[in-house]
Amino acid sequence: MALPSSYVLRETGGNLARNVVMTVAAVVTMAVSLTALGSVLIMRQAVNKATVQYQGGVELVIFLNANVSSQEITGIRQQLVSMTPAQIKKCSYVDKAQAYVEFRQMFSGQPDMLKVMTPANMPPSFRCVPAKAQSLSQLDAEFSKQPGVYSVEYPGQEIKQWLAHFATLRNVTLVVAAGVMIGAIALVVNTIQLAIFARRREVAVMKLVGATNWFIRVPFMFEGLVEGLVGAVIAFVITFTARNTLASFTGTNPLIPSQPLIVSSHEAFLTGILIVVVGAAVGAVGSGFAVRRHLSV
């Protein structure tokens, strides 16, 4: 049976307004539950992102002696080129002038250091990204012995520990997200059931005057949909605004300990969309199910 849309809108609006306390309870429950879900998802995203970044983005730095000859530089460059792309993904050369610029930035707060160093005594370097993070130690061994090389630096053992740590965190957040999701759905459905239980007399009267089940159910489902959407939008705003704070709970950038993990606004937005979809679906379907048990008369 086709339901007149004016009836559905009027009923939905009327019910939301008449049962203010229950409406607020449902919206707040939805908002809190979905914020919890969103927060866990954001943390997981931050860890995922860091993992991907450090699996493929580990840098190997080959520092050369400050007095390195141009033949030595050419030799090393040729060797690096020959290893691309099988062992090395990409390489860039940082000359003395660039190294000095970096140095000035790094020690900008320490004028004593800046006074001592000049571009002439800065070591030039090759910054390379290996094809596999696992081959770092092998590359180290190979280039340390080269003439003109001062030292080879890479995060080494630390990276392995971080990757293991992140793998654990990813699994933990997955389990927590699943748990929070189930909890959120149960909480929301329970709240809707309470709201409908409070109105079981109304449902009984509707049945009595010959309302079909869908005629009764659809306004309830729209009500759940509206409550779900409003709660989800609140959760969206909270998780989106707090995304970097949430991400920082999972840890810091392993290479730069002062820099916490972050999640881009684009990624947080996608999580937000998921939350809104979950909220709307749980609201509508939950209401549909909750009202079902009162329709059997």
Binding site: R18, M206, L208, V297
Partner: protein, 229 residues
């Protein structure tokens, strides 16, 4: 209009509500169902609307066998039946107008039809001036009038009344009875379960008496007790 053929109904806990009941109520009749509490009056009425299912026997309502009616058709059956109760069963959050309008909206009637019908029917029950009130602001008698208006607004073939005067004083009761008689005169079959001896005795309509689920008397132009023939 309503026909029970050897209807048997027992509730869980083996309480027998109706035992081999066979009754035939014709179109346009006004029937009292009487008997002490627990005699099966309410069960009798709720079998007509299929709120309850019979264990055995056949129940025909408006030409349809209720027992074999699929669940999705039950709402359409109920649109032919108006119901009123001792406790009114109005929606307390909605105005008098909305309570009555709801019964029409449920059947998918267009809005302009609802707008013209509801004031008319409220006028008929004497509540034309109180359409905007909430049920809680009305007296018991007035609330029952709203319930009657809701039950009758669809012009049902059948009106079932379960102790409709149970909560009302004598003067108000008389008013409600006049209303039901008037509805009956429009052609609606009225079946009323009651303990109210004065009403039954005064109106001299058909009386079906139940005792422990058995029809012990079915008498045209009867009275409450068994004295009159």
């Amino acid at each position: 209009m309503i026909r029970f053929e050897h209807v048997h109904k027992a509730y869980k806990g083996s309480v027998t509500a109706l035992k081999d009941v066979t009754v035939d109520i014709k179109r346009g009749e006004f029937v009292f169902v009487v008997g002490p509490s627990g005699s099966g009056k309410t069960t009798f009425l709720s079998l007509v609307t299929k709120e309850e299912r019979a264990d055995s026997g056949e129940i025909w309502v408006a030409g349809k066998e209720v027992g074999s009616l699929p669940p999705w058709k039950v709402p359409y059956l109920r649109r032919n039946i108006g119901c009123i109760f001792q406790d009114f069963r109005l929606l307390p959050e909605r105005s008098v107008y909305d309570n009555v309008a709801f019964a029409l909206e449920v059947t998918g009637r267009p809005r302009h039809f609802v707008r013209s019908q509801v004031p008319q029917i409220l006028e008929l029950v004497g509540l034309g001036s109180k359409m905007g009130r909430k049920p809680g602001e009305l007296s018991g008698g007035e609330q029952q009038r709203v319930a009657v208006a809701r039950a009758f607004v669809n012009r049902p073939l059948i009106l079932l009344a379960d102790e409709p005067t149970g909560n009302l004083d004598p003067a108000t009761t008389a008013g409600i009875m006049r209303l039901l008689e008037r509805i009956n005169q429009y052609g609606t079959t009225v079946v009323m379960a009651t303990h109210h001896q004065e009403i039954v005795d005064a109106m001299r309509k058909r009386v079906i008496e139940l005792d422990h689920g058995i029809v012990v008397r079915d008498q045209a132009r009867g009275v409450y007790g068994m004295v009159d023939a």
